[in-house]
């Protein structure tokens, strides 16, 4: 099989792994206000930790570029929020939910899907360095994607979305990975230059989403000490986990 197909296949596998993030929620029977708060806290922590990883990787390629990318990421979320906020409450429907819930679900899906573009580029560029480590990189990124599925499911499930659909949306959010990995692999030098902007963009968008949506929601319904414990532990755990991979 040619290198291009291998890269696509490996990146597709990592995308599918994101769906595994829905699994832990199979054990949740009832969804209380507390549960919603703590699910949001975990999602916030995982996304915060993931963006620490993105920034750390981005700054290896270029410090100023990562910062510029980050600011663009914030502007992007503000614009998306404004766009979604301007939609008619009745017309804004997602997975049979209207209004505020639909807006939040769409926002996290947009953020996570857009961030996958940068991750796909990172995958392609790292494969460009040689295919010897391909299997290791694939497994590492596949495992790394699972918490992202957890974060998405943590927001979708409380809104009444079924588990298989949560898994499907999680996989959907990672589909840009195989799509971007191939061109990045073919044109490594071009994409390497764009990488720090992309990683910064993804990190800025994710941290902003955490600060403007997930944490306020978590504090709203949960106890502060619990929210802080869950979010802090998930964030630090995610960073250490990624460094270990």
């Amino acid at each position: 099989m040619s290198g291009v197909w291998l890269v696509f296949l490996y990146a597709l596998l990592t995308a599918i792994a994101t769906g595994l993030g829905a699994l832990p929620f199979a054990f949740v029977r009832t969804i209380s206000g507390r549960f919603v708060a703590y699910a949001h806290a975990v999602a916030a922590g995982l996304m915060l930790g993931a963006s620490f990883g993105l920034v750390s990787e981005g700054t290896d390629y270029g410090r100023g570029e990562t910062l510029v990318g980050g600011l663009l990421g914030v502007v992007f979320i503000l614009a998306t929020q404004r766009f979604l906020g301007a939609q008619d409450e009745e017309k804004l429907v997602f997975e049979a939910t209207r209004g505020e819930g639909a807006r939040k679900m769409l926002l996290i899906l947009i953020v996570m899907t857009v961030h996958s573009f940068s991750e796909g580029i990172a995958v392609g560029v790292s494969f460009g360095g040689g295919m010897t480590l391909a299997a290791v990189i694939t497994i590492a990124i596949a495992i790394h994607n699972i918490p992202e599925g957890v974060a998405i499911t943590a927001v979708l499930k409380p809104e009444g979305v079924s588990l298989p659909r949560c898994a499907a949306w999680s996989i959907f959010s990672s589909l840009p990975q195989p799509l971007m990995a191939v061109p990045a692999f073919l044109f490594v030098e071009t994409f390497r230059a764009a990488l720090p902007y992309g990683l910064g963009f993804a990190a800025g968008a994710m941290v902003f989403m955490v600060l403007v949506e997930l944490l306020p929601e978590a504090y709203h319904q949960g106890k502060r000490a619990q929210v802080a414990t869950l979010a802090a532990a998930s964030a630090i755990g995610m960073v250490l986990f990624q460094q270990w991979l």
Partner: protein, 246 residues
């Protein structure tokens, strides 16, 4: 710098970091009692700086010592939670301007003192990792302590304290930072094997403190979008600068 003993350097910079709290009185002296939005942004600024500090410690200090760092972080989270619940400051809202009673003032001072102690450890740890990182950490916390003192000043003057008194108090609660910075630096110097554990502990404590005190308080004061922007920009600046220093 090279002529200074390492411990003296830690002493000097941690003292600087704690004394800047005096500057927290300046906005109020010039413009009167800050608005709710100002308090919110001050807390958001402090949050962003703190998260930037945590990022720096995580990426610079824990590269090959993940297990010790992880266990240390859990201990740090647990420790702060424990001290908060023991002192009855768990769900304390530090910007509750309308609530009266001496108990509230006592708790506010206590919670800020506990908070400052962990920042002292952060300076000691960062100095142990490298001198530039330590200086960057001390300077970041020096800035961080200004909005923090501003919030405490507002709270204490609303309860009848004069501004010079509250400014002195807001600075005094930070002084244990110096002690803990020197102590943790010295302890790590004696037993270097402790470094990843203490680094992890500090990161856990700082992230927890940000999430349990600073951020929830700032959301109560003003709109979440402006809070998010202020926090993120502060964080971005620290990440950028710390990378240059480390």
């Amino acid at each position: 710098m090279t002529t200074l003993e390492p411990l003296a350097t830690v002493l000097l910079f941690s003292a600087l970091a704690s004394l800047t709290a005096v500057l927290g009185a300046v906005p109020q002296a010039l413009r009167g009692t800050p608005s709710h939005a100002m308090i919110g942004w001050a807390n958001a600024l402090a949050s962003g700086l703190m998260l930037g500090v945590a990022y720096t410690l995580l990426t610079e200090g824990l590269q090959n010592v993940l297990a010790a760092g992880g266990v240390g972080a859990l201990l740090g989270i647990g420790f702060v939670r424990g001290t908060h619940s023991l002192t009855g400051t768990g769900e304390l809202d530090l910007a509750e301007l309308d609530k009266a009673g001496p108990e509230y003032g006592y708790k506010a001072i206590l919670v800020d003192t506990l908070h400052a102690a962990h920042e002292g450890v952060a300076i000691g740890v960062a100095m142990a990792v490298s001198l530039p990182l330590g200086i960057a950490m001390a300077l970041t916390l020096a800035i961080h302590n200004i909005p923090e003192a501003m919030v405490l000043n507002t709270l204490l003057t609303e309860r009848g304290l004069r501004l010079p008194q509250s400014a002195a108090l807001a600075t005094a609660v930070n002084l244990n930072q110096v002690l803990l910075a020197v102590l943790s630096f010295a302890v790590i110097g004696l037993w270097p094997v402790l470094l990843p554990w203490v680094t992890g502990f500090t990161v856990g404590a700082l992230v927890y403190l940000t999430l349990v005190e600073l951020l929830p308080e700032s959301y109560r004061q003003t709109g979440k979008t402006s809070i998010a922007v202020v926090t993120l920009v502060a964080m971005g600046v620290v990440v950028l600068l710390a990378g240059v220093a480390g």
